[in-house]
Each structure stands twice: as C-alpha cells, then as structure tokens.
C-alpha cells in the first residue's frame, strides 16, 4: 500500500543520521537554537549513533527471541526521554518546542515497538508489520525535520526582511 513511500523512507533513513548530526552544528553556527534545543539534539544524536553501533549485533542476538529487538529499542527510547527531562530539570529550563515534540515522537516510537512485539510475537496477527517499518522511519524523519525548525525559521525571517527591504 505504501510501497513507494516506504522505499523513499528507507533511502532517506540511510542518510538521516548524517543530517541529524549536521543540523545542530548549523543551528549553532546561525545561533538560532536555545539550550533546550541543544539538549534534545545531543540526546537524539547519541541515540542515533548508538542505533548505528548496536543494530547489527542486536539483530543477530534477537533472531531467537524478538523481545531483545523490540524491548531494547523501547528501553533506549524511554531512557532518552528520561535523559531529556533530567537535563532540563538540572539546567532549570523548560522544554522548548523541539524538545517537547521530539520527546513525544520518541515516546510514540517506543509504544510502537511494544505494540509491534505484542502483535507479532504474542497475538501473532502480524497486523502492524507494515505500520512498524513505516512508523519507525517516519518517526526518525520527523525528528530530523523538527531539528531543522530553528534553521527554517531563520531562513524565513531572512527572506521576510529582504522582501521588506526591496
């Protein structure tokens, strides 16, 4: 049903981790991000790098029992939200738009992992097979897009200012 979209997401996903790392640096250069943004960007980048590091190993380990695969991703997601919240509380700052959106997105991804495991391994209905692939890739793409919001707003403001000057 979503074959074209899924394929596009798969292609994008292989480059997404690079965008995730580059975007915060670009935001830092343009000085458009706040502390909340950089906290969540650091957490999300770490999660992405960890994903790249353990994905192969985890796939080999979880061939016999899928709980290792889905459970680990859900746990990593939960830990990253804890990290975001704890950092904000330590720094005494409130969650910005990016931190809030990415945290909610990560939480949805974690719930998707749990739901897919229950659907595939417990109920064996396999209803969420396609939803899982598309959902995870869309979540990653959404998080990368949210990280680019400060840059987009800078571009929009510059465009508006130039238009006014003309």
């Amino acid at each position: 049903m979503f074959a074209g979209y899924s394929e596009l997401l798969n292609e994008l996903n292989s480059w997404l981790w690079l965008a995730t790392i580059i975007l915060p640096f670009l935001v830092l250069l343009t000085r458009s991000g706040n502390r909340s943004y950089f906290v969540v960007a650091a957490v999300w980048c770490s999660v992405q790098l960890l994903n790249l590091k353990i994905e192969g190993f985890l796939w080999e380990t979880s061939k016999n029992n899928l709980i290792y695969w889905f459970g680990t991703w859900a746990t990593i997601d939960a830990l990253s939200i804890i990290l975001v919240l704890a950092s904000h509380k330590t720094l005494k700052i409130k969650l910005g738009f990016e931190a809030f959106s990415i945290s909610i997105c990560i939480a949805i991804l974690a719930l998707l992992q749990i739901g897919t495991y229950i659907d595939g391994a417990v109920l064996k209905t396999y209803l969420m097979k396609e939803a899982y692939t598309i959902g995870v890739n869309t979540g990653n793409l959404a998080n990368a897009l949210i990280l680019s919001v400060p840059l987009l707003s800078v571009c929009l403001n510059t465009f508006k200012q130039r238009r006014r000057a003309m």
């Binding site: 709980i67 746990t75 997601d77 939960a78 804890i82 969650l95 945290s103 909610i104 974690a110 417990v122």
Partner: protein, 104 residues
C-alpha cells in the same frame, strides 16, 4: 513469556508516565504564576472593558457623522489607555512576584 510481557507492561506504563512528565515540564511554575496573574488582572479590568464595549455600542447608534467620528476617536484613545494600564498592571504584578521569589 510472562516475564517478557510483564517487562513490556511496566515499560508501557512508564512511557505513559514519561509522556505526562513531558507535558508537565512544558510549563514551569513561573509560567503558571504568570497565567494566574493575567487571569486576576483580567478580572480586575473586567468592569472597565465592559464599559468600553457598551460605549462602542452607544457610538454605533449615533446618527450625526461628526459626533460619531469624534466619539470614535476618543473611544480609540480610551482603548489604547486601557491596554497600556492593563499591561502595566501585569508588569507590576510580575515584579511583585519576583520580589516575593527573591525574599523567600
């Protein structure tokens, strides 16, 4: 299998708890106090805003264009003054809040 399901159930509840915490962290205690102050100031200014609205209605019913125009001009000045006073009151109340925060 039971242990796995138990772990996932705990994780599921914990993630829901984290979502609630994320929503709570979006607004700080100071923000909540600001919202409360704005509500209080709005209540204080309610009578004045109602009077201004009533005056607008009265001005609409005036048939003489010159008197209506003059009335509208003075009404606009009153509205501007109203917003100035309203914002000044909020700023004053927030300053008071900061004094209280520093004191305790």
């Amino acid at each position: 299998m039971i242990l796995e399901l138990l772990y996932l159930a705990v994780l599921f509840i914990f993630i829901l708890y984290l979502i609630i915490q994320v929503f709570k962290c979006k607004v700080t205690t100071l923000d909540k106090a600001k919202i409360e102050i704005e509500k209080r100031v709005q209540d204080e200014f309610q009578v004045r805003s109602h009077q201004l609205l009533m005056k607008r209605g009265e001005l609409e019913s005036i048939k003489d264009p010159d008197s209506k125009y003059d009335g509208m001009i003075s009404w606009r000045e009153e509205i501007e003054q109203y917003y100035k006073d309203y914002n000044a009151q909020i700023e004053y109340e927030l300053e008071q809040l900061n004094v209280v925060r520093i004191k305790f």
